[in-house]
Amino acid sequence: MKKIGVICLALVLALGGLGVGYALWSDTLFLEGTVETGEVDWEFSDFSIKDPFADNETIGDWNILPGFVGQAYQTSKSVGWITGQLVDGDDGDGDNSTLNLTLHNMYPCYYNAITVYPICTGNVPIHFVKATISNEYGFSYTWTAFPYEEKEFDITGDNVSDIEFQWGDSLGLQIHKGDSPPEISFKIHILQAAPQGFSNGKFSIKMEAVQYNEAP
């Protein structure tokens, strides 16, 4: 009988201990996070053209020797000219991400210089890392580092170079939002083989910028 009493006591004590364990107070802290990513974006704020003057005899055209050798020199006549227009690109985000240039009444030896002024519109600083020039006949070349080679190519499909470009020293620029737009320029020269009366020679220059911290 005494044995049964000891067993019962032990059981009560065990259950009591269990009760203490269940009654331990507890609480939980939560951490919730929201991540908003930044944006890499830029657009042309403006552009300038050295010779935009059509049929204006008071401001002559500019010429230069092949290979951009020597200084450009001004002629006495205004014959050729270049016009430009800033438009939104394929992404339709409202930025002026494309500059359409039209080279009017070109002739051999004609020279012009174009300057674009890009601004950073995203909140992540950007590095301008490369510029790729190409045409519809398979030519493509990318400027990535100084010194920048002059590049000539065919824009009329006759396998003879008609035009040459010289890129300015601008790769590696870092631009923050709110910075004054830097000048990025390139030069154009019409070569001797350019045919008369050609109206649809195309070229394209893609300027790529990447987030500042991963620029090569």
């Binding site: 500059l99 008369q196 220059i205």
Partner: protein
């Protein structure tokens, strides 16, 4: 089994690294260009032609309006008559042109004949100063005169070639 585990781990890490590469943010600005070239051009027009004979025996006719060739035909010619053509060259291209000195060939003319290619007043044209823009003109006169060295019933010929080029590189 352990080997397979290591391979799987390497694969996962490689894919992860690739993901980082693709995640580089970038944005492209585009400059697109269209090139339209101009052209050079010039053409003849005939203003007048004739002779100074006192009887209507021979004739001088010129044709070639709007073309690059001026054709002069003198028929029934005889000595001591002056034949002339008043011509005009008009610039027709969008790029101005300069002229080289004309190449005149009178080797197949009688030795004593005269051939001139001048301004309307008979003075020489300084071709190095002639520039024609689209629509500009240069007037001139061509004269042919035969002397007594000319043979009867004989065909003679002459020619003048004018080469021109874009204003900024020629001649």
């Amino acid at each position: 089994m352990k080997k397979i585990g290591i391979i799987c781990l390497a694969l996962v890490m490689a894919l992860g690294a690739m993901g980082l590469g693709y995640a580089l943010w970038s944005e492209v600005l585009t400059i697109s260009g269209t090139v339209q070239t101009g052209d050079i051009g010039a053409e003849w027009s005939v203003e007048a032609y004739g002779d100074n004979e006192t009887k209507d025996v021979s004739s001088c006719v010129a044709t070639g309006n709007g073309s690059d060739t001026l054709t002069v035909t003198i028929t029934g010619a005889y000595p001591c008559v002056g034949y002339y053509v008043d011509w005009n060259i008009e610039g027709t291209g969008s790029v101005p042109i300069h002229f080289a000195a004309p190449s005149i060939d009178t080797a197949n003319m009688p030795s004593g004949s005269t051939f001139t290619f001048t301004k309307m007043d008979g003075t020489a044209i300084d071709w190095s100063t002639v520039q024609l823009h689209d629509g500009d003109t240069q007037l001139g006169k061509l004269t042919v005169h035969l002397d007594n060295t000319a043979a009867e019933n004989t065909n003679y010929s002459f020619s003048a070639n004018l080469t021109y080029g874009q204003y900024n590189e020629f001649p």
